[in-house]
Symmetry: C2
Subunit: 900 residues, 2 copies
């Protein structure tokens, strides 16, 4: 059976997106629902693929089917294609399965030529209207279909406008427009070497070919590469009878959302422009009215439209984004599609639609993106202060909302300065025309990024999202000029404070207060997460080093602490001197004395954690970083000594000299200790359990502190579940040695208190060899916790600190890597190790508790993978917990969907 | 059926080593061959295990079987155990499957008591002999069986000796010896709390128990742990009729090897002492005669002995180490076992025995250890110069040959000094009483290590072998005293030159010339390796960076170059400035100009290599190390600048100031470049193909140089097979990108020359992720080469530079790791990755060429593993190639044996 290449709208439906594209399926669905859709048809995506398969020729039969469909449209409209008496005009639009920038846009008014334009003038009794449509068509056709540079048409038009009084399009007379048409045609012939095609069928043939051609245009290909959209989907072509919103006061055009896309409120939201075509709205020449205005101007049309929007939303069970045109008092629907919305709106709409019994709880959970939940919990501008800023005229403009979050800081105009000031602890916003890999070192230190050029997939946007920093991109209304930028009349010089909101794209002069979000106030989000909790199988824990973090985590739904880094406690100001004494101790006794001082402090830390996490497990990791991290830096000390030597040279008195020499000696002693601890590759050096093995007193003190704290709070009635985690194990014998040293200490403390607590000993799986030999390691581990940061570093042989700025982000940008593997778990390599570790670990110990505490524990795709390989929990930073709850539910629901 | 615990010698044979131990099996075999063995029997290793299994009780029936066997011995000797008239005396000896230091030695003369000693005196008509035997027995029994400290017996004996004129044992009269016996018994009773057991059966029971007990003695357990000998083998106990070599001029005792254990010459080699017991030889009181002397003194016995040695060697088809005693003109054989030998002798004996048709070529190949071949090719002392040194009295003594190789250097007495001088480039020998982990930093920088204490498993020996450095350990005749040592009258002070030969244990004063070995002169070794080549499946390639290395490698049998590090060429003095210009170039054009200068130089390097390797493949690795390695160090520059600033302060003239300031500016510019390239973990930073991707001009130049060189030499008629290796690939897209850049360059060069060469593009597998995704990587790689150094570093998360001194060797010492994984491939982790990579790689590309170029390519166990997982070749440093050839053959033969 020969393939069918062309479908009338009446032959399609919403489930045929693959074949008809999103726009075609939407038009078909509306047509079949009896809504007023201008007659038309769709050429399929398969035709597009066949076109490429046969060396850019229309497949056999396609053109005949197109002509047949056109005949049917002529029948329904009563007009004829190319008929000077009653000409049928059409628009030609591309329409892939998903909307895609870089694809051919729309050619309007196709079918006009020197004959039909006269017919149109006569029919509409408006010569100016007809020639205006004609000149628009020639320019659009030349530019979009034939690739002539747009400004060349603009120049001609501008020259004519110059001769008018008002200098506006609307000031051009019909006669002038006729001359414009003639000049456009001459331009066309010069550029193309052929006259402008007067034959409407020839116009149509070329336009269809151009739509097909745009599928493989550079921007479209880049876009698909970026979003991993297959190249063999193809695009459909929609041919739709023209309707005109610019035929007078009883005409108009508009767009609308069925709910407010900013807040999610259930209220029709949109804009309307009387006596205009869609183009005019986009061009920004006239300001549209709110949609409600339509109720005043054309109450019947408005009633009809509202009814249609309600029907469509019910029909699609989803908030719709609609385009419509009113032609001489008749409403035409031109498009319906799922509407884009803010994070806040996404949550509210999903929750509301459940209440309205439009969708199920499962669907609601699946409709909100993890990233949107995360975005709702990012620091944001204080609403009041932002209102003040707007009131006081500080809003400079709006760019693209390229990476969410809000930040204030001094504007700086190059990466080196951003790095220098950032490292001094200053808040800066890096402002660049656009960014390149040479700017990454500055982006790393900036609080936010603002660019004049570039879209959602520009370098700045990708890197900023990668770094989790707010970014406003493509703020084209700014003019950056050396070390300043202007926005309208305002000049911002280097060092001036600015603020950017990456969620809205707004740019402000001056600082704006930011606030931490409160889950308690997000009622709909709480509801959504409660539903997510019903569906998910994966637990969500949090990484927290202090009771205050644990408290936040618990409020955000954490079901345990997956990682407490004990060394963070060591860095606190009052403790560091003791820790340094412990490290520099020359005898075991001196070391023990320092550890004895640390014991009660650590015990106090743990007591606080255990109290907050009453009833839930708390995993505490024993000391991990290399000891030299607790000491002054080598170079810092060298500089100090050099400075002291200068001072010694200048010393005037013997006493002064003696004092300086004593200082130098003391610093040199410290320098030599630091030097002895220096490592070429500290990440792969003396740290983790290697430290615990060489200095067993340190983990011994920590385990004593953990179990004394646990017994103390248990005596208060707290339900405590300590889990001791031994880091950086690569060989089972390391774990065995440490556990055999430490568990007796735990038992002794409990025996002294006559208590038996529920506890575990386990290990991080962060060294590839540990994953590879997880069966052996599980013999001594009651739990595994994947440290995917280090596991990724070692599996890739990439030091994140060194690589991210130097080549890793560039790898992502150039698609050498699909994602930054430190953000999105690399399933092919690191994931393979994890899968092995899970299988091997469970083969030895079926009840092994396995989770993840690396940063990936907060990433959507990574959580899905953790669900798939059967982990018990993911553990992420507290503010990542709500998103993780949602992602875990989506992973579970996705599986159910697949099972059906 | 009840187990049989006791075997008469006539009931055993040489294949029963598991049950009877090595000694027992040897005695049984000799007995059954009709050789003169003193009657006796063996209690089995199973009895030992049963003893431990039942809480240290003899298993049921064992004692009865022992008594029955004793009865048979009585029948054959005509003597009776405990019979004062004609007493049977026995020796009791332990005998495990393999000889093992730390096990109970021998108790001689068991069966003597106050009655039987009188009978012995009467029978031998020599009262002094009898009481001398009795006092020896009591002391031996007290010391070995009952654990009384030996010196306590010595003190008593010494007191009696003091009263004689000659002060020697032999000066003691029979009466004095009777008093010694009485005093010994009193000592025994004081120490043990019980009288000395007069009952010979009680003596026997206790001695057997003591042998069993020694199996679990600390030293024996440590030894087994070290050599990975299972603890459940158990030891046998041999009970042998005493024969006496000290019964007059027609008696004597000796040891002999069937061939010279030093040279391998086929000549009887040994020592003989008339009228003496074995003990006396060991004690060194009298100097033994060469075995040939026996021919003069007892020609018939000598003839008989020579015949026996020949029979035994033929019988065992192996060089034998024999013990014998002549008692009143009758020859008794006491032991036969495989003789230990030097590396040189091992090779010669194996080759000679094939010529003698004693063994097959396969057996010859299996009998020589890889390490012995390696040892034969280590630098050694020039024979002539060593003879001169001996002649001139420079030999200071001999310790344990703990790690082979020869070295001369200044004696230093602490690790810090050794490190400091070593880093200055001075040759030093570290001399320590013994070493500990605190000394490793000095050992790393020393040319050799000499210790006064410690055996083959001491810290010094293990670490030195680990580092591949010569070590003489346990040189107890030295006296180390602060910063000097004395050897006899000679005093060696810090800084004096000494020389050590780790293969022989010799220590010399003064320097001795070392020479590189020549395979051409090692005729037997060449023969052995030729046989090995017949059997092995694995090819042996070499790592070589220069034509001169490739030449050596080829002479040593290399079948290809597995790794040429191109960057080594960059480090040469005349090239480094160009390389630095290339790195610091601020424009692409400047960089290209430097690369253009490097091109002909690299091309010349490659031409030399290709010519030497005519007909064989040459793998060339593209630039690998971080670029900052080619620049001065950061701290070095800092210090230079600080010094210049001091000088600037002291500048007297304006010209001088200007000059200094210019110098400072220039250095500061360089410093800032170096600073920009600094990395926290350079091993995981910007290196390998990451460099090639960021600076594609560099590998482009290298590939052009490779193919221009290849075409040039091909034009000369050389058969050239270049293989381009892309390093540090972690993701297939890196390899894809590089290959797609570089292969066209290669093709273009060949097209220009109108040549089509046989070439390959491939990659190192050195990043864990590459092994995990080898199926993907094989799509773009025609070969894999395992870089097991980096693969081990990343799989373990251990930086070798940092870890080896700080904790890794300590891990090995404490058995947290079985071996240093940088020497012996870690099969459980790294090996698992390799196995995966081989399977995945071959699944994509069945003809994928896979080899290994890490250091492990020269290690015996690692080579065996490479054979097992089906690699095509191992590549090691040139001098490792012969050992690798042997190891590869052994791996193949081992498999054949298993298959049978």
């Amino acid at each position: 059976m020969a393939k069918k290449w062309v479908y009338l709208f009446s032959e399609g439906n919403k489930d045929m997106r693959d074949l008809l594209g999103g726009k075609g399926a939407g038009l078909a669905e509306m047509e079949n629902a009896g809504l007023p859709v201008p007659p038309g048809f769709t050429i399929t995506t398969e035709a597009c693929n066949a076109y490429y398969a046969s060396g850019k020729r229309f497949p056999d039969g396609m053109w005949d089917e197109t002509l047949a469909a056109l005949k049917e449209v002529e029948r329904r409209t009563g007009k004829q294609f190319g008929d000077p008496g009653n000409p049928l005009l059409v628009s030609v639009r591309s329409g892939a399965k998903m909307s895609m920038p870089g694809m051919m846009d729309t050619v309007l008014n196709l079918g006009l030529n020197d004959q039909t334009v006269a017919g149109l003038a006569k029919l509409t009794n408006n010569e100016r209207f007809a020639y205006d449509a004609y000149r628009r068509f020639i320019a659009m056709f030349g530019r979009i279909v034939m690739d002539i540079e747009g400004p060349k048409f603009d120049q001609i038009l501008d020259a004519y406008k110059e001769r008018t009084v008002g200098k506006q399009d609307t000031d051009l007379t019909a006669d002038m427009l006729k001359q414009v048409v003639a000049d456009f045609k001459a331009l066309y012939e010069r550029e193309i070497g052929q006259p402008f095609p007067e034959d409407p069928y020839e116009q149509l043939r070329l336009a269809i070919g151009a739509v097909f051609g745009s599928w493989m245009g550079k921007r479209a290909v880049d876009y698909r590469n970026y979003y991993k959209i297959p190249h063999d989907l193809g695009t459909a072509v929609n041919i739709v009878t023209m309707v005109f919103g610019n035929m007078g006061g009883d005409s108009g055009t508009g767009v609308a959302f069925t709910r407010d896309p900013n807040t999610g409120e259930k209220t029709l939201y949109g804009e309307y422009l009387a006596n205009a075509q869609g183009e005019d709205v986009v061009a920004g020449i006239r300001t549209p009215e709110p949609i409600a205005q339509l109720a005043q101007e054309m109450p019947e049309i408005y009633r009809q439209f509202v009814e249609i929007t309600q029907r469509l939303e019910k029909h699609y069970r989803e908030m719709q984004d609609l385009e419509f045109t009113v032609e001489r008092g008749k409403l035409w629907m031109l498009q319906t599609r799922t509407g884009k919305r803010t994070a806040k709106a996404a949550v509210k709409i999903a929750v509301d639609m459940v209440a309205e019994e439009l969708i199920s709880k499962q669907e609601a959970v699946l409709r909100v993106e993890t990233g949107q939940v995360y975005q709702l919990l990012l620091p944001r501008f204080d609403e009041k202060d932002k209102e003040r800023a707007v009131r006081e005229g500080q809003l400079l403009g709006t760019g693209l909302n390229a990476s969410p979050g809000a930040a204030s800081g001094a504007a700086v105009f190059d990466a080196d300065t951003a790095q220098a000031l950032g490292q001094e602890g200053k808040a800066v916003i890096l402002v660049r025309p656009e960014t390149s890999p040479d700017d990454v070192h500055g982006m790393l230190e900036a609080k936010g990024i603002l660019t004049q050029h570039g879209g959602a997939t520009s370098h700045a946007a990708v890197v900023a999202r990668g770094l989790g920093k707010p970014c406003v991109a493509g703020a084209e209304q700014l003019r950056i000029d050396g070390r300043q930028f202007t926005a309208g009349a305002v000049v911002i010089r280097e060092g001036d404070m600015i603020s950017i909101d990456g969620a809205t794209g707004e740019i402000f002069r001056g600082p704006i207060k930011t606030v931490a979000p409160e889950l308690g106030r997000e009622v709909e989000l709480q509801q959504l997460l409660a539903w997510a909790d019903e569906f998910r199988r994966l637990q969500c824990w949090a990484n927290a080093d202090y009771p205050r973090d644990a408290k936040v985590a618990r409020e955000l739904g954490a079901q345990g602490i997956g990682l407490t880094r004990t060394e963070h406690m060591f860095f606190e100001e009052d403790r560091l001197p003791i820790v340094q004494r412990m490290i520099l101790a020359e005898t075991d006794a001196a070391r023990q004395a320092a550890l004895d001082e640390l014991l009660p402090i650590q015990r106090g830390d743990f007591e606080g954690l255990f109290r907050v996490m009453d009833g839930l497990p708390v995993i505490i990791r024993l000391i991990d970083p290399p000891l030299h991290e607790f000491l002054p830096g080598y170079e810092e000390l060298q500089e100090e000594i050099a400075a002291l030597k200068f001072e010694l040279r200048d010393a005037k008195t013997l006493a002064e000299m003696t004092q300086k020499m004593e200082q130098i000696r003391e610093r040199e002693r410290l320098l030599s200790s630091v030097a002895a601890m220096r490592e070429a590759n500290p990440m792969l050096g003396l740290r983790g359990c290697r430290l615990g093995i060489l200095f067993p007193q340190i983990p011994a003190m920590q385990v004593r502190a953990i179990f004394e704290a646990a017994c103390n709070v248990a005596a208060e009635g707290v339900d405590v579940h300590p889990e001791v985690m031994i880091p950086l194990v690569g060989h089972v014998s390391e774990l065995k040695r440490q556990r055999e040293l430490l568990e007796p200490i735990a038992k002794k403390v409990m025996a002294q208190r006559h208590m038996q607590l529920d506890y575990k000993f386990g290990t991080m799986i962060e060294v590839p060899r540990a994953a590879l030999t997880a069966d052996e390691i599980a013999e001594y581990a009651q739990f595994f916790s994947f440290g995917t940061n280090d596991l990724t570093q070692m599996a890739f042989g990439i030091s994140r600190d060194d690589a991210e700025g130097k080549f890793l982000l560039r790898y992502v940008e150039e698609k050498l890597l699909p994602d930054n593997p430190f953000q999105v778990l690399d399933r092919g390599g690191v994931g393979k190790l994890m899968r092995m570790a899970v299988e091997l670990g469970h083969s030895t110990r079926p009840d092994l508790e396995i989770g993840i505490c690396g940063e990936h524990g907060g990433d959507h795709s990574s959580i899905q993978f953790c669900h798939q390989i059967g982990l018990k929990y993911v553990s992420a930073s507290p503010y990542r917990v709500p998103g993780a709850r949602l992602a875990a539910a989506q992973a579970a629901l996705g599986e159910t969907t697949r099972d059906r």
